[in-house]
């Protein structure tokens, strides 16, 4: 009886470990954030922008970026391999039109081990900018930017091999807003 109990416990433990490992792997492989729950903010926001560019559309865009134009050639190089670009951005008339719970609902999806925080800038005046990367082993499989200013909330979610430098170069293209990632990188020391 004891042996049976021991065997069952061990099997259950192995299954539990397998389930956890599968979940972790699944999260790491699919770093797409769930953002639909923020849609209710559209009624409060003075402007809402939703961008959805899937892999097919990205690769299509990559094909037609002009190799002779330095900027376009650089963007082309950056977007090759990306699997999706998703942006949700809300601009508000007043401060506190969105809540910390809204920010937390995104942050809660950006937890370890699937995600690692790469950058964190907090400024009383300008709010927060957090940049996260999703790793699958040593490979970056996604990136997320959470920018919460007093009157603006923006989430950028890029799926595929992308880093901070790439993100900075992609700003202002393919629906990715200008987040000032380059300048923030330098601001970290002063404002954090």
């Amino acid at each position: 009886m004891k042996l049976l109990f021991h065997t069952i416990s061990r099997t259950a433990l192995i299954w539990a470990v397998l389930v956890v490992m599968t979940t972790i792997t699944t999260y790491a492989q699919d770093p797409r954030l769930r953002l639909a729950h923020l849609d209710y903010l559209a009624t409060k926001a003075s402007e809402t922008v939703d961008v959805n560019i899937d892999e097919r559309l990205i690769q299509l865009a990559a094909k037609v970026f002009n190799d002779k134009d330095d900027d376009e050639a650089q963007i082309k190089k950056l977007v090759i391999g990306l699997k999706g670009i998703y942006v949700k951005s809300f601009e508000f008339e007043n401060e506190n039109d969105y809540s910390s719970a809204d920010v937390d609902s995104i942050r809660s999806q950006l937890r370890e081990p699937a995600w690692s925080r790469l950058l964190n800038v907090t400024s009383k005046r300008e709010g927060i900018v957090e940049v996260y990367v999703a790793l699958n082993g040593a490979e970056v499989v996604g990136l997320a930017v959470l920018s919460a200013e007093p009157k603006e909330l923006t989430v950028v979610n890029i799926i595929g091999p992308v880093d901070l430098e790439k993100l900075a170069k992609l700003e202002g293209n393919l629906g990715i807003p200008d987040l000032g990632i380059h300048s923030n990188k330098h601001k970290t020391k002063n404002e954090q």
Partner: protein, 182 residues
Amino acid sequence: MKRSTTKKLVIALLALTLWSTISFAKGDDFNSVVKMIEEFYNVKHEGLPFLAKAAMKAVGVGAKIKGGEAKRYAEAGSIKLATFENQEFNGDLLKFRQMLNDSLTQSWTPLVQTLAAQEREQTYIFVRENGDKFKVLLVTIEQHDATVVQATVSAKNLALLMKDPEEGAKAITQEATIVDHE
């Protein structure tokens, strides 16, 4: 015998034409979006059936009048346009967006959507493959006016639209509506 064969052929052709018209109407999301707007906001669109053929020609004329080379996004003859003018577009923005997305996202990719709740402005850009080209469906709703445009664009122009969706959408809508102002 010959007369009978001709008659059969005509009937078959008519049946085929009718069938293809019905099939097209069934799968025509442009019409269903126009109808959806009419029903949701209790408004009526203005029928401009000649536009599909005239639009591209008019764009060229419009460009000449302006004295410049207007950027053309849509393929010649591919534009479908429905306009709603001087009507009230009062309604739940989110409910409408949900309804629109529910009806289109199985066959279209929602590329960009913008909402401005206070100004009651909504813009939707949907895309889908159409052979080696792409179909773009643009829906713009403001307080008193709305426009629905469907056009076929080349891969290159779709990429341009993705690079700057706001400007691209404006240009396509302008291409479609320019004839209306002439």
